[in-house]
Symmetry: C3
Subunit: 428 residues, 3 copies
């Protein structure tokens, strides 16, 4: 995963344009079957309209000596996203209105965009800004803003059921590592893992979209099917640093995705951060919107907006680490495993089974012997057919991934029966 | 309001009699349309019977020199309410059994009544009592207890719907300011405000009754209509001092009145006192009685029984202040506004609306810009048609009166739709 | 109760055999109508099979001088329960593998059984064990393990209804006082009290069984009737010491038995220990098993497994005391009284009744007089026909046994009406 992230890091992504296509092509190479879609500018999607495509070839501020003092070639955050073309000489004072920097983080280039209002601008470190003397400057943005397409990619992995798990991530941010490259690379690793499984209970729908407009477009084209089939899913973002784990609920907070996320995080890091719907800020805003109501929750490492490097040039590989990505991958994989394996369970005998005659119980009853089979008996004691394994795991406060092993053993002894009940499609 | 209270303060009110009529006449002058009813003594009302009317002309204890040492003309709390007539000479010791004072509050005259058992007595400060020497005293109560009427007043303000909001207050206490003159004067101000509104969604039913027997009589005469039509309401009492805010729930604690009261008080004074149904003591005892079950809650300043001056001559205008009355008025007005305006809300577009194209969103996306529209987006995110604005306000922890402004703006842009769903008549 | 316990203490009980029959015969003498059942070895009961009957005549370890150094005649815990017959000479080292002691409690003989795997062994104090020198020992267990019967006893006390309260206790432990003689003796006292009642609303089914296999056998023979008729019940164990009170819930924790137990313990000892279903360990494991789901909760003094003397020779009459047994008896009796008397209540008048005219209210209204009738009025205020007296007692935080007196008074005045609603048979 780490090398995918470093490969993709330099590409200048935005809502639209060559950077997005280059990124999707790289991912298609890793994910056979990935289909890249394009949607023309001007097309409507619910309350929104696909914007013009933005092409950026070069952008810089040069001084009177022709020296580039701010240069898009150095860092693609230097130009405000969706800047319109400009080629002007101006003095320091006029230039000032088009500069963006962060006085509190004087060595960080901020990430600024202006998708829906035409303007141009440059982002730079505050120290750089202070070092620009009064003088004439040559300002060039060599860009186009004209009708083109918006791209997104989609992959369907069929399962035993038509019911679907939706994984969504986004590919519209330029060179930043946690928000966002961690999202597409962890998603790619999850898809490769899903592809490697012998069988999948659910069908998986994975989408790589530009944030907000992309998920809105995707929803506008697929909403009936999504509402009919999606039983769980995750928006995958900010999943690459090693500082903490975070949970952001769906709108209701009670979907299977929420239950799985909470269980995984509780047993992964008891200090995980529990955000509220009011803290939302990514595509769950669309997937869980009123009337859309898909059961989408979010598992993150450090949440967008909550770590100091967020939306600056400092969100790099000092923030994102291999162990950070791996921890995020494992948490999401476990959440998906819970969704896959969350059957109802029912005992096959009335009263407790006699474990002893099957070699599952110590024959000699001593003061301590009871402890050894307690976990197994606790599990059995809740298998009345009305509870899922996830509910039982929460009742007996053990991790799902340990209990599933005990379940398989008891099923093999004929003591438990798995019951498959279709997960409710109840709204997010 | 303050001058109404000071005007009404000297009148000697009781369950029945001239003081009640004088008080209601004063209020009728302020409230065009107020209808004064009379109910004859001896009439049955559920388990109760209207008592005889009490007329008190004079009452005093005089010493052998003819000097009045305790005198009803000085303070109408000096005579026990409903004292039967007496004209006797007796010594200090015999007199003692008819005296009431408060050793712990030696400068307060207590307020004592004996409505349903015939007796007579005098209330005085404990210091006054200690200063009465052994001697012969002339005890006179010039009163009548004979069949007459019990009075109450009623006003109906029609609204767009037949569904009603009930406001009830009481007018049976002599010269005390918080319990009770604050009740009728704040109610009068609320009625004048309701009369000034261009339109009212609900019909308002306002009653001024003697406490307990009055609300029981009123219920016995109107119960079918009240149970059919009252969707919310408040018992208005102890609403004039400036020390704190208090909430006393309906019997179930979950009616719209309770929800509105809790929301107002939470956003008015986070330290408001939250009493329980077990602390009740006024007409909610009747309005929320089993089988009556009207949705009546209580918003107070300092609760009856909980402030040191309660039911004594010290409950005067040192306790009740203009700002105390105004604070109480505003809290109740806000609660009524919530009940009036508590619609269900539904977005008109799927996914988030594009606020930018409507000038509702900053065009330049910066690290901070998100905060500015967060409240608006939070509101929209909950408008799925299943929640009322009050529920949404509680979810996003903002005051209803701020949110309603945002709602009107979004409705005017066509982004939200109001849905009027009839408030459940579910019992208190 | 205390003398019954001391009478029964020396008998050598086990799952089966003469000790059980001797114990049941003693109880039958106290409880006219007690029926003793026998079930043949080899019979199936759900997942289990009735084991062979164990007869133990003598058991000892003797040294080369013929001196008995460990002797079943001295204490019946000395032999491992269900030990197979043996008559061998062996050296100290070989003997070692058949000895059980507790290094942490060097003066306690542990209680060990091996019901379902054939072996033999001796239990002794750790000090005794350390004092056995290397030498040849003569080991004798004079026992039989052959087809016979398993015994249990049952008593039905008919009530006005066919709905039943089940009381279950066990009689399979040798000389230990809290676990288990406290169980059968407190149960016996409860049955004598139930027999003494003029009338019983419910039918009572009392069973004395060997633990686990006994309750499974009993369930396998009676499950349809039990599921149809049992509305509440208790497993009675560890109810004789004076250290604390304990509660162990049914599987759901919400049955009438649970509610009654929690109410009694809250008002008996506010520091009572509240265990969870995960702490279970006695016959509630069978009665509340998935698919069985009887509403059985457990009230204990010191819980099995939680006191140091548990399952050792130290669980004697230093642990169990008369006051301990009496406290346990009263707690269970109160829980049964709640189940018997837990009617729904409804006022007969609308609004508050006028207590004064019935002499139930002080005539003279003073600042304090309200307090006196508050409990009565609180009770009445909740009697809307939808709540049981137990629910009301919890709402007003008073003990059921005080409130029932007030209820009877108000019923006698015609102010309250009792409504009998059949207790739900909803699962444990």
């Amino acid at each position: 995963m780490y090398s995918w992230a470093t490969d993709l890091f330099p590409i200048n992504r935005s809502l639209t344009g060559a950077g997005v296509r280059q990124t999707l092509a790289y991912l298609a190479n890793l994910l056979p079957g990935l289909v890249i879609h394009d949607v023309p500018s001007g097309m409507k999607a619910f309350d929104w309209t696909i914007p013009d495509e933005w092409t950026i070839r070069d952008a810089y501020i040069a001084n009177e000596s022709g020296e580039r003092v701010v240069d898009f070639q150095q860092h693609n955050l230097h130009v405000v996203g969706y800047s319109e073309p400009v080629d002007l000489w101006m003095d320091r004072e006029e230039l000032e209105q088009h500069l963006h920097s962060l006085p509190d983080q004087p060595d960080a280039i901020p990430y600024i965009t202006s998708y829906y209002a035409r303007r141009w601008g440059f982002c730079l470190t505050h120290n750089q800004r202070l070092s620009l003397p009064p003088a004439r400057y040559h300002v060039v943005v060599d860009s186009d803003l004209k009708p083109g397409v918006l791209n997104y990619a989609e992959l369907i992995l069929p399962g035993e059921m038509d019911d679907e798990v939706l994984l969504s991530t986004y590919i519209c941010h330029p060179s930043m590592a946690n928000n966002e490259l961690s999202g597409p690379v962890v998603t790619t690793a999850l898809v490769q893992w899903l592809q490697s499984l012998e069988k999948r209970r659910y069908t998986y729908r994975i989408v790589f979209v530009p944030e907000t407009i992309g998920s809105i477009v995707y929803l506008s084209r697929n909403i009936d099917q999504l509402k009919r089939q999606v039983i769980a899913g995750f928006n995958i973002t900010c999943i690459g640093d090693d500082r903490c784990y975070s949970y952001l609920p769906s709108r209701t907070g009670s979907t299977l995705s929420d239950q799985a996320a909470l269980h995984v995080l509780k047993h992964t890091d008891s200090d995980f951060k529990h955000y509220s719907w009011l803290d939302r800020g990514s595509d769950e805003r669309q997937y869980c919107a009123p009337g859309v109501d898909l059961p989408i929750a979010t598992i993150m490492r450090s949440k967008y907006g909550e770590y100091p490097e967020y939306h600056t040039s400092l969100d790099n590989f000092d923030v994102v680490t291999l162990s950070g990505l791996e921890g995020g991958f494992i948490a999401l994989r476990r959440a998906i495993e819970i969704i896959e394996q969350n059957i109802h369970l029912k005992t096959t005998v009335l009263c407790e089974p006699q474990l002893g005659k099957r070699g599952l119980y110590p024959n000699l009853s001593t003061k301590e012997s009871g402890e050894q089979v307690r976990a197994m008996m606790n599990l059995i004691s809740y298998c009345d057919g009305s509870r899922t394994l996830l509910e039982i795991a929460n009742l007996i406060e053990g991790p799902f991934w340990d209990l599933i092993i005990v379940v398989e053993k008891l099923v093999s002894y004929g003591l438990l029966e798995k019951i498959y009940i279709r997960t409710s499609l109840k709204a997010s």
